[in-house]
């Protein structure tokens, strides 16, 4: 029998940065990066930053309580691994969808959502510039990330 497909996790607040870099390393050996998935970031944000319990956090992310706990413990394991062995953290990927479509403006640096899903947003509601992009920008795959560097 094939397993059930993974249910998509809801992300209410996308991260403002796409990762963390360690500094002051004693040895210069290259260490593999830790890839923190967006759903794991969201679990950390809800449980440790918003101080919600797992039941509440699981309802917000639209998964079951045991699933949330699994995502959360995996996230902590990854963070600990990065911290202890001095690895770089990259936040990306994951089985996720966004709460509402978020956009960012490249001129004034603001973020905004689209309340009317039928209409497409073409300009920033604040400075009216057309230079906007969807916030899925940080959702690069590993290959694209390396190309960017």
């Amino acid at each position: 029998m094939s397993p059930r497909p993974t249910r998509l996790r809801k992300i209410s607040n996308p991260p403002v940065i796409s990762g963390f870099k360690p500094y002051g390393a004693k040895d210069n050996h290259f260490k593999a990066d830790v890839f923190l998935q967006l759903e794991e970031y969201e679990a950390i944000r809800l449980c440790d930053y918003e101080m919600l319990n797992h039941q509440q956090a699981s309802e917000i992310m639209n998964v079951s309580r045991p699933t949330l706990t699994r995502i959360y413990s995996k996230a902590r394991q990854k963070l600990a691994e990065a911290l202890v062995s001095g690895k770089q953290i990259i936040i990306e990927g994951g089985k996720i969808y966004f709460d509402s479509e978020w956009y960012s403006c490249k001129i004034c640096g603001s973020y905004f959502n689209n309340p009317e899903k039928q209409k497409e947003i073409t300009e920033c509601p604040l400075c009216m510039s057309k230079n906007i992009s969807t916030c899925d920008d940080f959702n690069y795959g590993p290959e694209e990330y390396i190309k960017q560097k």
Binding site: E50, D99, G109, Y111, N113, N114, P115, P125, L126
Partner: protein, 105 residues
């Protein structure tokens, strides 16, 4: 169209308040008539439920956009259903006068 801006004071020089539910003042700005109104937020010291109560205040003035530094998790779904657009500015140094200038461009 009316826009709500969270403000730390009741003048145009005051900075944008980085919280939505517990901001000190709401500035309701009408982009058509250029009229503005400062409303003191009664929920600024509320223990909980400040977000939804604040949404009620601004929604009763028929605003279409809210500009703030951050929106709590309880508010997002509420504003989605009311079709109010959220605009997040992560710059605590910006004052409300500058934001109004940007809106008038």
């Amino acid at each position: 169209m009316k826009v709500a801006i969270t403000s730390t004071g009741n003048t145009l020089d005051s900075k944008l308040d980085q919280r939505f539910g517990r901001c000190i003042y709401f500035l309701i700005y009408d982009t058509d008539t250029k009229g503005m109104e400062f409303i003191p937020n009664p929920n600024k010291d509320a223990q909980e439920g400040a977000g939804p109560a604040s949404v009620q205040i601004v929604a009763s003035r028929n605003v279409k956009k809210i500009i703030s530094g951050e929106f709590g998790i309880k508010i997002k779904s509420l504003l989605d259903s009311l079709k109010i657009q959220m605009i997040v500015i992560k710059d605590p140094e910006k004052n409300v006068g500058e934001i109004i200038k940007m809106l008038n461009q």
